[in-house]
């Protein structure tokens, strides 16, 4: 395995818990790998199977879904919905033959900046271990080319 492999990871963070946690991690200068690209969503329940699969389709090496804890969800049922959707997505990812390590759901509250840094560190390590995604750079559709500046 190439030691220089730097995975590209999409992290869907919910607006009320995980995104502020990421923010707080930055403010308190906690170190975590720069492999993640955060997509802020209003709620973890917004992250559908389609969004996760689209990330994989476009060549993401891993997808992290970070939501509130069940009892703190801003919309009451959003975090629960996220875990339901995650269950379906997990199964699809498994049938597709994408390694299960590439998809992770975690619950990070706004006060848990160290946990955010820890989860990202662990996830990046895990994805580095399984190597580049089998779908990576195989999508040649012009419309979905990854822009040069973030390659």
């Amino acid at each position: 395995m190439n030691n220089n492999f730097q995975p590209k990871i999409i992290a869907f963070c919910c607006n009320w818990c995980s995104y502020p946690a990421a923010d707080a991690a930055g403010i308190s200068r906690l170190q975590y790998p720069a492999n993640i690209r955060i997509v802020r969503v209003m709620c973890g329940g917004r992250v559908t199977t389609g969004l996760v699969l689209k990330a994989f389709e476009l060549g993401a090496d891993g997808v992290l879904i970070a939501t509130c804890h069940f009892e703190d969800c801003h919309y009451l049922f959003g975090a629960k919905r996220a875990s339901e959707v995650h269950k379906i997505t997990e199964k699809l990812v498994q049938i597709l033959g994408i390694e299960p390590e590439r998809l992770r759901l975690d619950w990070i509250s706004a006060a848990e900046a160290p946990k955010f840094a820890k989860v990202v560190k662990e996830f990046v390590e895990a994805v580095k271990k399984v190597g580049p995604s089998p779908i990576r750079k195989k999508v040649t559709d012009d419309k979905y080319q990854i822009p040069e500046e973030i390659k």
Partner: protein, 379 residues
């Protein structure tokens, strides 16, 4: 193929503007903004730049109901396909239902390095082989089973039933480990490039396993292999739908059925019926089962109404209205079991029944045709 060729090939220039297509179109019945006649008209107009950007081109169900009625014999769905391919080329895209999950799955499958693990559904009592003469093309059933668990539909039951039937008549079917989606949905949503990639991989896999005959339980896969693959690739497989296999077995007296005490009705899937003309063998398979009471719906065979969505795009309130209309029609016949032979019909009807607006008169139990037959077989 550009639009000019498509017009020539589909004979759209013969349009009489009679409007029979719009009159019979299930989408037009509920969506007043959509009309096949106007779209044909628009295609024929010179220097019309609005056609490819028109959102209506994605509404067509390609169910072929209009083609059956057309006095000028225009192939409207082929025209629609060509228009969509052109539109996709200039960057227009359909609204994909389910957050685009189904489309993403298919596009992920175009990746050659993918090693799928899609055979977990095969039970110990089912006999399958790695190489041989007869292949069973499972299609997207494992994916649909996972993706639509919330509708309560188990599409994989149909796959198990098909293998069971084949085993019973003495066939051990080959099942491919790395089979891809047949590409039907990508083709009908205009993504010709990825369709070709999927088709190429499937044909290579099938040639590798040495199968001469392919059996389908999904009408869409059957259509795609029978009509669309030969258009773009050279492939000389014999393709057969599972009901044809069953009817052969019935005439050879290879199968015996148990009694089945229920009143049933049958929904003709558009791909199997109007696209390929298979009407009789499903009915033969149903009516051969003893004590079953089979009632036809008022609109049946080549006038059957589509299940409301095609190629996982543009699912809307109009689709729901079509589905409820059809379900009510099925319930009104007095049947208590609706037999379907397309996995998508089953998913769509069950989804519609979960709707709050669906009253008691639209609730009817559904079953896949192959599951019904497999359960009724006497061992």
């Amino acid at each position: 193929m550009n639009l000019k060729e498509a017009v020539k090939k589909s004979k759209a220039y013969l349009c009489l503007e009679c409007g029979k297509c719009t009159g019979i179109c299930p989408i037009s019945k509920f969506n007043r903004g959509y009309s096949p006649r106007i779209l044909v008209n628009k295609t024929l107009r010179k220097n019309d730049t609005t056609l490819l950007k028109d959102k209506n081109i994605w509404n067509c169900l390609t169910c072929r109901l209009c083609d059956e009625q057309c006095p000028a014999d225009i192939d409207y769905i082929e025209l629609t396909q060509a228009i969509r391919i052109e539109a996709q080329r200039i960057g227009e895209e359909a609204f994909c239902s389910h957050g685009g999950a189904a489309q993403s799955l298919m596009r992920i499958m175009t990746s050659e390095s993918l090693q799928q693990k899609r055979l977990d559904w095969i039970d110990k009592n089912l006999k399958v082989a790695g190489t041989g003469e007869v292949l069973y093309f499972v299609g997207c059933l494992p994916y649909f089973d996972a993706l639509f668990t919330e509708t309560g539909v188990e599409t994989l039951r149909a796959a198990r039933a098909t293998v069971k039937i084949l085993n019973h008549i003495g066939v051990t079917p080959v099942i491919l480990h790395q089979e891809r989606c047949c590409g039907h949905d990508l083709l009908w949503s205009g993504d010709l490039e990825n369709f070709k990639k999927l088709a190429e991989q499937n044909i290579n896999e099938i040639k590798k396993c040495g199968a001469k005959k392919i059996i389908f339980s999904c009408p869409e896969g059957y259509r795609t292999f029978k009509l669309d693959y030969p258009k773009y690739f050279d492939c000389d497989f014999e393709v057969q739908y599972i009901t044809d296999v069953i009817s052969e077995a019935i005439s050879n007296k290879n199968v015996k059925f148990k009694d089945f005490n229920k009143t049933v009705t049958f929904q003709d899937p558009c791909r199997l019926g109007r696209h390929l003309g298979v009407y009789d063998t499903p009915r033969e398979a149903i009516t051969t089962i003893p004590k079953i009471q089979f009632i036809e719906m008022p609109r049946t065979r080549n006038r059957a109404i589509c299940c409301g969505v095609s190629a996982w795009m543009n699912c809307s309130t109009f689709s729901k209205s079509i589905q409820l209309m059809r379900l009510k029609e099925a319930k009104k016949t007095g049947a208590n079991l609706l037999i379907l032979s397309c996995p998508k019909c089953e998913i769509h009807f069950n989804c519609a029944m979960k709707d709050e607006k669906a009253g008691k008169d639209a609730k009817i139990e559904t079953i896949q045709l192959v599951t019904l037959v497999a359960d009724a077989i006497e061992e």
